[in-house]
């Protein structure tokens, strides 16, 4: 059974794969370190948004280490480089000024920070989602790895996440609560951009499409289920339906950080098929509870703590947790094991390898 078959069987709950599939994303320093160790050059794919860069980059490293997935998405247009200011801060295609932080590059200037009316949003220029060269890397990877690996097409920053990077989180949350006049046009514009990316990737032949918006936080949802329902639920139905219209077999994979159990039933109702990252140690995300409530209608991708366990746990603690998660979430299939976010630089190479080995050891059906 190759990786593609393994992931598809697991996530579509179509019988048991040979073992639980593995996926993981690595930060720059870990990609570089493993690249050196394995003697494999790291190919960085500069993406439309910096976070996505780490989802798309270093595929060769990750599959060499044991990942069953290859990630593709929307890169920068051919021959395009981000302009930089005198501090070396880049301004991306959306006009967000971005500064390297300890882990990520962070948005320090939001292009719609002062938006008040709908016309400003209508006039605001989004980049061309289908610009020449954006999908050169995607095409190359689909061609090289499409036969053997499960290809995930990234369309994260689907709506809410793009909006808060454009506007700023505090202002956006207040304006969502107020129903400010620019909100609806902005959601539509972000949705249309993401859909253009997603539809392109589905047409290119990806196996799964990975949408992403973070509606949850460490202790609960960022917004009420009522607000999510008001602004995003039906739009997600529309997004999923348009992707499925191109390929009914494409797997709908939804990233949503934080504690979001209150909306999972409704999200599944509108078409969510795989829930990622199943953030551990947050209210409502007890693995047994999630599996019993949702396991018959949704698959799980994630669940390994990379906030505390991977960086600070012992090798034995890591192995015990992975064995437990696999036993619970992987019962009868329906689970791809991965850390709940990009593995950060506070996690050693040894522990990355320990995670991979533990999944291989305990994940055999």
């Amino acid at each position: 059974m190759n990786s593609k078959e393994r992931v598809r069987k697991a996530l579509c709950r179509d019988g048991l794969p040979d073992r639980v599939p593995i996926e993981f994303d690595l930060c720059r320093s870990l990609l570089d370190a493993f690249g050196q160790k394995l003697g494999i050059p790291v190919h960085y794919t500069n993406a439309i948004y910096e976070d996505i860069t780490y989802r798309l980059s270093g595929n060769e490293i990750r599959i060499a280490l044991g990942s069953d997935c290859v990630h593709v998405g929307a890169s920068l247009p051919r021959d395009y480089e981000h302009p930089k200011d005198s501090n070396g801060y880049i301004v991306n295609e959306f006009g967000m000024k971005m500064r390297p932080g300890p882990i990520y590059i962070e948005v320090i200037k939001h292009p719609l920070a002062d938006v008040t009316n709908a016309q400003e949003v209508i006039d605001f220029q989004f980049p061309d989602p289908l610009a020449e060269g954006r999908y050169d890397d995607a095409e190359k990877y689909i061609q090289t790895y499409g036969k053997d690996y499960f290809i995930i097409g990234n369309m994260e920053l689907t709506m809410y996440d793009m909006m808060h990077e454009l506007v700023g989180t505090e202002k956006l949350l207040m304006d969502l609560a107020l129903g400010a006049e620019y909100i609806e046009p902005l959601i539509e514009k972000t949705k249309d951009f993401a859909l253009s990316v997603g539809k392109k990737l589905v047409a290119m032949g990806v196996d799964g499409v990975w949408a992403g918006d973070d509606f949850g936080a460490q202790n609960g949802m960022i917004m009420s289920p009522k607000m999510w329902r008001k602004y995003f639920k039906e739009r997600y139905r529309e997004v999923y339906a348009e992707l499925k219209a191109i390929n009914p077999n494409v797997v709908i994979m939804q990233h949503c950080d934080g504690a979001v159990a209150p909306i999972l039933d409704e999200w599944i109702e509108v078409g969510l098929e795989v829930f990622n990252p199943v953030q551990p140690n947050v209210p409502g995300h007890d693995p047994e509870d999630l599996k019993s409530r949702f396991g018959h209608k949704m698959s799980f991708w994630g669940a390994i703590d990379q906030q505390q366990l991977l960086p600070y746990g012992t090798l034995e603690e890591i192995a015990v947790d992975i064995e437990s998660k696999i036993k619970i979430l992987g019962e009868g299939g329906g689970y791809m094991c991965s850390p709940a976010h990009i593995i950060q630089q506070d996690t050693s190479m040894e522990k990355v390898e320990a995670f991979i080995n533990a999944v291989k050891k305990y994940g055999v059906y």
Binding site: G101, P102, I103, E106, I108, T169, E170, L173, M174, L176, A177, L178, A217, Q218, G220, M221, I222, M223, S224, M227, P283, Q307, P311, Q344, Q345, D346
Partner: protein
Amino acid sequence: MDYLEVVKNYILDYEKEKTLEAAQAAISAGYDPMRVLDVITEALSIVGEGFSAGDLFLPELIYASDCAQAAIKVLEEKITSDGKEAQHKATVVLGTVKGDLHDIGKSIVAALLMANGYKVVDLGTDVPSEKIAAAVKENKAEILGLSALLTTTAVEMGNVIKHIEKEGIRNEVKIMIGGGATNEEFARQIGADQYGETAVDAIRIAGELIK
């Protein structure tokens, strides 16, 4: 008309302009600004409890604190224009440490502290330890509140405390920390005086620290 109830209810309804108008109307009608401040505190406590209980969410919390801060400015202007000085329980310097841009939690703490009678000097985000120490010294702050959301930036809190020690003012200021990357044990490790899990905790902690 009971302007105190009106101010409180407009905050609970997240009506910023109407909160401002009601606060101004209360002042014009001769209400003691401190009484108006009391109902602002009460409204924020209700919202804070609702948030802790999971009935209210971040948008409501942010908006209520925004309403409250706007009204508090009106009250403080009135106090100053009367030739009085606003009486504060203590001065609190707040800042998100260097390298960290997160500020929602800190802004809510600022609003709650202001509503509870503290003078707040909010330094914003990504604040170097030298600037924090200088602000504590300059404002003769009794309390310093530090925020960090990332494990990689939380360590900077330890540097801030070392800087405060180096400036020779550690014994003059109490230090409380909060933010998703921190906890009790971390507070102990770096030598902070208290850790607060939620923004609402900050009020109780501030009260304990100035006793």
